[in-house]
């Protein structure tokens, strides 16, 4: 076994299988990306050094205490995957047409930007720049350097270091000042390989002043392999700009997903996040919001509906650094079978952040005695003129409500579904785009009914992991 120049010094620390795999493959990963700008190479080396020191987070770390991710570290994944060649059109293998809702589809395949065109970074008519982050660092280095690595700086851990050190590719979006992007952009992350992959992808989204973008981030097109998907997304929202971010997560039962999103918000900007987690082996959503400009507003919402042995972990950090900002967190979930949910909301209100309003709420329904919830809504406050509150509940469906529904002739199963749906609808209602809301409400209903919640019309059989298929087109749907 050949060791890299970063000697791993095995006597000091015992590395897990994944850790040693990563330590050994950094050299080759770095050499492959030799054409990158110095800044990225430096960032990679620094991050790798940091990883070598900390390793992967384990159960002794409070933020990972109940996490299932310790299982990941004892598995071996193929870390360095080669760029797939473009053979099929994205539209051919993926269709996500929600009635009355059209999106501009961008795709990543195994973490690589996937397009039919020669140009991997395009400038649209309205000035929006979109495409591969690898191309962006060379073609728009100024923009890239101004933000890359500067937004994702809170709550870093082994996986985020790995992402920086190893990322293949990702999506880059730049919306210039004053541009209101009409059509939503949909990022589809597809995974298809015969091997168990660890996919590190990195996205950078920059919104100029007074601009608007709505972005859908779909983690739902995964083949039957058990992969490890590790995504870091950095988002910069300029003055008075607004971003609607939808995250849809619907992956197979043995895939691990870390979706870490860091956002910087300037003055009077607005962020709205809806995380919809429907299925997945273990999903960890990290959301770090840094309110740097006065009057910024962050509205963070999530629904999770888990069953079997699945786990969802929502880590939400909001940093109120300046006065007059508002933040609100609402995360609701239903846990069935042996599933588990973790919520850790953390609101930090700095010394200067007077007139802050910060709200946090986490409600959970446990359906079985084997499901588990760990919730930790934290507040750390150093300013006095603030209104901060948090609430957390864990309980079951209201027996009285159930009784009255049944009294009116609704069978128990339907009554339960109705109540669960009503419970989840509070979050789904917050989705502004009406066709999307209808479609997501539909998926929630289906999910609660226990049906496979594949997107309507989608021809990928992502949610039927037991049937090994490789982008086989379901003719019945076309």
């Amino acid at each position: 076994m050949q060791r890299g120049k970063f000697d791993m010094n095995p006597s000091e620390k015992k590395y897990s299988i994944l850790e040693s795999g990563l330590l050994n493959s950094f050299e080759s990963s770095l050499s492959r990306s030799s054409n990158e700008i110095t800044k990225v190479t430096e960032a990679r080396m620094l991050a790798f050094e940091a990883f070598r020191k900390t390793g992967l987070p384990g159960r002794l770390n409070e933020k990972w205490r109940n996490s299932k991710f310790d299982q990941v570290s004892e598995q071996s994944y193929e870390v360095v995957s080669s760029k797939p060649t473009y053979t099929q059109k994205v539209n051919e293998i993926f269709q996500c047409s929600i009635h009355g809702f059209t999106t501009q589809v961008e795709a990543l395949l195994n973490g690589w930007y996937y397009t039919s065109e020669k140009k991997t970074l395009r400038t649209m008519d309205n000035g929006v720049v979109i495409g591969s982050i690898q191309t962006a660092q060379k073609e728009v280095p100024e923009l890239f350097e101004r933000h890359f690595g500067k937004i994702a700086k809170y709550n870093l851990h082994g996986y985020s270091h790995i992402n920086t050190a190893f990322f293949n590719d990702g999506l880059f979006i730049y919306v210039p000042d004053q541009v209101h992007v009409e059509e939503s952009i949909q990022l589809i992350k597809m995974v298809n390989d015969t091997q168990k992959l660890m996919i590190n992808s990195r996205n950078l989204v920059i919104l100029g002043k007074n601009s608007h973008l709505s972005l859908m981030h779909c983690d739902d097109s995964v083949n039957h392999q058990s992969s490890m998907i590790n995504t870091v997304t950095e988002i910069f929202i300029g003055e008075n700009a607004s971003l609607d971010l939808y995250k849809l997560q619907n992956i197979n039962n043995h895939t691990f997903l870390i979706n870490s999103t860091s956002v910087v918000q300037q003055r009077n900007s607005r962020l709205k996040v809806n995380v919809i987690t429907l299925n997945g082996g273990a999903i960890r959503n990290e959301l770090n919001v840094d309110l740097q400009g006065e009057g910024a507003e962050a509205d963070l919402n999530g629904i999770y509906l888990m069953d079997k042995k699945q786990q969802v972990d929502n880590q939400v950090f909001v940093n109120h650094a300046v006065p007059n900002c508002n933040s609100s967190e609402l995360f609701k979930g239903v846990l069935d079978d042996e599933s588990s949910a973790i919520f850790n909301g953390f609101v930090l209100v700095g010394r200067d952040a007077q007139k802050t309003n910060a709200f946090q709420r986490n409600n959970n329904i446990l359906m079985t005695s084997t499901a588990k919830v760990d919730t930790m809504p934290f507040l750390e406050i150093y300013a006095d003129d603030v209104k901060c509150s948090h609430g957390a509940t864990i309980g079951q469906l209201d027996h009285d409500a159930l009784f009255y529904l049944m009294q009116r002739g609704i069978c128990k199963r339907d009554a339960r579904l109705l109540l669960m749906y009503a419970f989840a609808a509070e979050v789904a209602d917050k989705i502004d785009i009406q066709p999307l809301r209808v479609s997501i409400e539909d998926m929630v209903k289906k999910r609660l009914r226990g049906e496979l919640s594949i997107c309507e019309k989608c021809v990928l059989h992502c949610s039927t992991p037991d049937i090994p298929m490789e982008f086989e087109i379901d003719m019945s749907k076309i």
Binding site: L366, V373, F378, I381, Y382, A383, H390
Partner: protein, 484 residues
């Protein structure tokens, strides 16, 4: 009218006093050498004429303590504690058993007078038995006879070791084992003295039991150990109050309190903690690292913690309940006030193991000056604890823009028939409230005192009467000078 006068007097004290209870008593001390080694432990054990099993327990705890490190997870910042610079044993030299107050050292009596709790007065007053602990050794126990009529054992820990070894052996370390945490291990190794209380089956303790702890000699850590056992269907209300003299060097205090409530028993444990908090610049003050835990062992038992925390430079304290018996109840009511550079990280743990168990947590934090006040609490519902119920409410009040108020709740639920609710708010005193007080001619300092007392009332009401008055005073004194 009288009440108004009282209120005014209290408020006046608020505005004038710095730390009222700072004085020093000159009593000859019998001290151990500085530092902690096996020798020190043997010395303490020999001094107290302890049986072999207890020495073994201490040594095991010490061996374990050597292998672990001081916890750093709390939201506290302090210079490292030099455990080898502490004197681990100090006792008044008088060893003779005292029968009446006349035999008590006059200086000691003076100390009590300054505290306003002279033994004679206490004796005549509300019928409160006082077991006064001055620097680790119990000097005087009153009302022993009255209590013994009911079969209640209430004595110092060392006496209990000599006289009731089987009881001590049975219960000591059963709730807080020496492996529990760093400070519990330290205490188990070097504990000097404390109180022991046993209420036999079916006995309703006729009076409030109380102990006044005082740290007295310079540089002596105080390591109390309290063991409270309520046998089946017994009831006891236990009070613990602390005041400490003003001193510059930091002092370490690592106590253990263990409560055992058998089936149907009820224990109410109230604390007013007012150790020396350090001066206005954050110099000095007590480091208070306490492990308090009770177990509701039998069905239908109940443990209730009430605490008013105003003192100490550092407070690290989580009075907890293990609700093991079915239908058992745990309660935690807390007011924690921090001012100047004080830091508090306090809260509770409610561990629901039995069916139909209930717990309530009411925590009120008030921070002023440059202080930091954190609530850290855990509610765990075990898989088998069906139909359990928890309600937590943690409010924080910020006075001034240089202080911090933090809330760190941990909720783990693993049972689908249980209901857990947690809510918390953080805010400052509303300007409307202040305005209306001032409009009625109450100046802002007094108005704040009034509002804070109202805010904490929910908890203060849970204290026995005489303590509630003292606690009210303490709140006011602690907040003195916090209004700019």
């Amino acid at each position: 009218m009288n009440e108004d006068k009282d209120q005014n007097n209290i408020l006046e004290e608020v505005t004038s006093k710095e730390y009222q209870y700072g004085f020093y008593t000159n009593i000859e001390m019998d001290t151990a050498a500085v530092g902690l080694t096996e020798e020190t432990i043997r010395f303490i054990s020999a001094k107290k004429n302890e049986p072999e099993w207890l020495l073994e327990f201490r040594l095991k705890a010490f061996q374990h303590w050597l292998t672990i490190e001081e916890p750093t997870w709390a939201h506290l910042h302090h210079p490292p504690i030099k455990y080898q610079d502490i004197i681990y044993y100090a006792a008044p030299k008088k060893k003779k058993q005292l029968e009446s107050l006349n035999e008590v050292d006059p200086e000691l009596l003076d100390t009590f007078k300054k505290l306003g709790i002279s033994l004679e007065e206490q004796k005549v007053l509300a019928g409160v038995a006082v077991d006064a602990v001055i620097d680790s050794v119990s000097v005087k126990t009153t009302f022993r006879e009255t209590l013994s009529k009911h079969g209640i054992i209430f004595c110092s820990f060392s006496e209990a070791v000599q006289e009731y070894p089987e009881l001590v052996k049975k219960y000591m370390g059963s709730v807080v084992p020496y492996r529990d945490n760093f400070f519990a291990a330290l205490n188990s190794a070097v504990f000097s003295d404390g109180s022991f209380c046993y209420i036999p089956k079916g006995v309703h303790c006729p009076m409030e039991l109380s102990t006044y702890f005082r740290i007295n000699a310079a540089n002596t850590g105080q390591f109390e150990r309290t063991l409270l056992v309520a046998d089946e269907d017994a009831y006891v209300s236990y009070l613990e109050g602390c005041t400490a003299p003003q001193r510059d060097e930091n002092q370490l205090h690592a106590a253990i309190v263990e409560i055992i409530a058998e089936a149907g028993a009820e224990v109410k444990y109230s604390t007013v903690q007012n150790w020396y908090p350090g001066d206005k610049n954050g110099k000095g003050g007590i480091y208070n690292f306490v492990t308090k835990r009770g177990i509701c062992k039998g069905d239908h038992s109940k443990i209730s913690w009430t605490q008013v925390e105003t003192g100490s430079a550092i407070t690290w304290k989580y009075p907890s309940c293990i609700l093991k018996g079915d239908h058992s109840i745990g309660e935690f009511y807390s007011v924690a006030v921090t001012n100047h550079y004080q830091q508090a990280d306090t809260g509770t743990k409610m561990i629901h193991l039995g069916k139909n168990t209930k717990s309530t947590i009411i925590s009120k934090g008030i921070s002023a000056g440059f202080s930091n006040n954190s609530y850290r609490g855990m509610v765990r519902i075990a898989k088998k604890a069906s139909n359990s119920r928890n309600f937590s409410q943690c409010d924080s009040l910020l006075l001034g823009s240089k202080c911090g108020a933090h809330t760190f709740p941990y909720i783990n639920a693993g049972n689908e028939t249980s209901v857990v609710e947690h809510e918390a708010t953080t805010s400052k005193i509303s300007e409307d409230q202040l305005f209306y007080c001032q409009q009625r001619g109450i100046d802002s300092e007094k108005a704040i005192g009034l509002i804070v007392n109202g805010y904490a009332k929910e908890v203060l009401n849970k204290l026995p009467m005489e303590f509630a008055v003292e606690a009210q005073k303490l709140l006011a004194i602690t907040l003195e000078g916090s209004v700019g």
